[in-house]
Amino acid sequence: MTNNPTLLAAVGLSKTFPGTRALDGVDFDLRAGEVHALLGENGAGKSTLIKCLTGAYRRDGGDILLEGASIDPRDTQEAQRLGIGTVYQEVNLLPNLTVADNLLLGRQPRRLGLVSRRETNRIAREMLSRYGLTIDVARSLDSYSVAIQQIVAIARAVSLSGKVLILDEPTASLDRDEVRMLFDVVRSLRAQGLGIVFISHFLDQVFDISDRITVLRNGRLVGVRDAATLDRTQLINMMLGRELSEETRDRGRGGFDYAQRARIAYVGTGRAGVIAPFDLSIHRGEVVGMAGLLGSGRTETAELMFAAAPRDGGSVNKDGKPLKLASPRDAIAAGFGFSPEDRKTSGIIGDMSVRENIVLALQARQGWMRPVRLSRQREMADDYIRRLDIRTPDAEKPIGQLSGGNQQKALLARWLATNPEFLILDEPTRGIDVGAHAEIIRMIENLCESGMSLLVISSELDELVTYSHRVVVVRDRVHVAELIGEEITTDSIVAAIAKPSPAPETSA
């Protein structure tokens, strides 16, 4: 495999944006028939490199060679024609069209000038059968799971391009089985001689599928290694450039004093068809973790708790007194904060500056009549940018232009500025690089030490074990288990998630 010819190479690639040198003389080479992982912290230059390769950006310097010939794609279509196809984390297809239309859009077979539906469907079925997928191609794309949609996107990209396939965080919203299915497809494409660039934050997956690994840091190349000769600690060291003592622990944090009165207590909170009624109380200085598969009702639980979605009955007490909780405004007035799972659509105000995004919740709580003075806003923004190490040239940069991890930190800052008593974090570390990941975990621990109560939803079990005093497990829209202190291990959480549902017990 190592003797395969180089398919795509970047030589001394540079790209500068105002204020930042996103790529600084980066070399990268991809061989035919290999899966090449591209790793790095947020802002390391991964996506800039990809965008230069696919024509989304024009490079400032250096050269791109495809099969030895210099190329200069002006846009993604040109790159596609040259043989470089890309599949993004958020599937870039048309969910309301059929699978077949998505596969063949723009080149459907015609009969007498009209699109031949039967022929379209036949070709589409043939295309997918090569991926071991036998689904009804006449159904709309959005009736299938994200995993299937990913494979459809891959099939389309491969049929359009066929030499290089770039997978940008393809597994971010897939569960374990779906990842396996996707990797089978990737392996078969590798066997056909495609060069595959794989970007992911899941190191396990990287080791599972990659032949070689290229690491970038701050726009520079750190190194290229064979995956087989590299271990986890070495890789993390390459990515961070500093010693990351294994941040995780084996068992949950014990010794929490449950004798004290709960700070916030939900009784019989639920919503028909969304999440079965649950009781949940959170104490001062306690971190409650929430585990479960995607779609199990974790996010829905958080939304009900913050009153971001309506709930059927039930009551909420704070410090022993009943609390009116009918809207996010009520929740914020009571000292709650909520950082939602989907940063882009529910978290950031993309066009607004980092400063305004940080001030927003505080300002909304104070009301429009009492503006936070501009000098105070600047102070606060600069303070949080320093304390949370938000990487941005200055506080006036639109938040939408920051990387995911930095957006997440700015959202944390938004809530910290309101000095909350109870903070709900839904997947605070999703799509975030290793360094920011560790920082956010440390921040959660610090906040809880200062007396804040936290509910943290996460798919990363190691992470939950590290900071949780208690873990609530959600399965099939029901809170099924609660693990306390020493009981919390990744194995016990997995066991609770995996246990088959005893049907009658919790039906509500």
């Binding site: 105002p18 996010p328 405004r329 914020i332 105000i349 066009d351 927003l360 300002q363 909304a364």
Partner: protein
């Protein structure tokens, strides 16, 4: 503070330059354009005329800017002008006092805005559809108020709102300038402007951050209704009569154009009231310029369209991007 001022200067520079170019062009084809004289305690001249004639669109542009900043649009403002003008004329003819007449007419404008706001913010109807309802129905309501006639009146106090003077300027100029300053102060000295922009950019995220998006949206439509009512009063006072069919006809389009020329995106978000007001003056300068230049009147609309097109091309993202690249290669350290 200097940074803020500089940013503001950069924000309105394209509009100021455009206005200067339009005015200079008029000056070339009509050399007497800049003559300003004082007579009867008031300034006279084409520039003053532009400020005066532009009053209705300028007032509408204030409300329209705020509505557009929330990601909405208000098509009903022309019809609301007709309603409020009809109510004012009818009341003044019926012998109501001037303060009562003004209060009731402005109240009607607020009510129209409340209606639009509730349709958009509470029922969740798309703004273009929601305000279309009142755009169509509004003229009918105005006709019902005037009972299908053109209501004329001869109340001097009321008429002076449209044709009187204040501080050596026509009264409408004083009204729109004051309204513009007041609105700017309110949105920029309080947090209102920022909250409106937040809702316009990402309503869900704003709501989750505790912004009362619903109330804000209703409010901006009410401000738009109030501005339309003021515009309607000025037009009615100026012609000393209410014409339900023609008062404010198509002015909603000029108001939207003023906002767009002012550089505020129709997608919502960041806005500038002052840039919109300059936009309104650009439009009026074009209108007046075509008149004084002595083109045959049948050319008016085509010439106006060409000039507007030129302005929008200059502001288009494609050209802006090129310009920004140019200034960056020059200006960046």
């Amino acid at each position: 503070m200097n940074g803020t001022l500089a940013r503001f200067g950069r924000r309105i520079a394209p509009q100021l330059v455009t206005l200067a170019v339009v005015v200079a062009m008029i000056g070339i084809v009509f050399p007497g354009f800049f003559d300003i004289s004082i007579a009867n305690g008031r300034l006279y001249g084409s520039p003053i005329d532009i400020l005066n004639r532009g009053a209705p669109v300028a007032l509408l542009a204030i409300g329209m800017t705020l509505v557009i900043a929330t990601g909405g649009i208000d098509l009903s403002v022309g019809a609301v002008m007709a309603i409020c003008g009809a109510i004012a004329a009818t009341l003044i003819v019926d012998g109501y006092s001037l303060p009562a007449t003004l209060a009731l007419s402005l109240g009607a404008g607020l009510l129209c805005g409340l209606w639009n706001g509730l349709l958009v913010a509470v029922l969740g109807i798309q703004p273009i559809v929601a305000t279309l309802i009142l755009m169509v129905a509004g003229r009918g309501i105005a006709q019902l108020v005037t009972e299908g006639m053109i209501r004329t009146f001869s109340h001097h106090g009321f008429a002076s709102l449209g044709s009187g003077n204040l501080l050596w300027l026509p009264t409408p100029v004083v009204i729109w300038v004051c309204a513009g300053i007041l609105a700017t102060l309110v949105v920029r000295r309080t947090a209102l402007g920022m909250l409106i922009e937040a809702v316009g950019i990402n309503r869900r995220a704003s709501m989750l951050a505790g912004v009362n998006a619903r109330l804000l949206i209703v409010t901006v439509y009410m401000v738009s209704g109030l501005c339309a009512a003021m515009a309607g009063l000025i037009v009615t006072a100026d012609i000393r009569g209410a014409d339900a069919n023609n008062a404010g006809l198509f002015l909603e389009l000029d108001a939207i154009l003023a906002v767009v020329v002012g550089g505020t995106s129709l997608l919502g978000g960041h806005f500038s009231l002052i840039a919109s007001l300059i936009g309104a003056m650009i439009i009026q300068a074009i209108n007046t310029g075509i008149l004084v230049a002595g083109f045959p009147p049948e050319f008016n609309l085509v010439i106006k369209a060409c000039i507007v097109l030129a302005i929008l091309v200059l502001q288009s993202p494609a050209l802006q991007g090129a310009a920004m690249l140019f200034s960056r290669t020059k200006g960046q350290p």
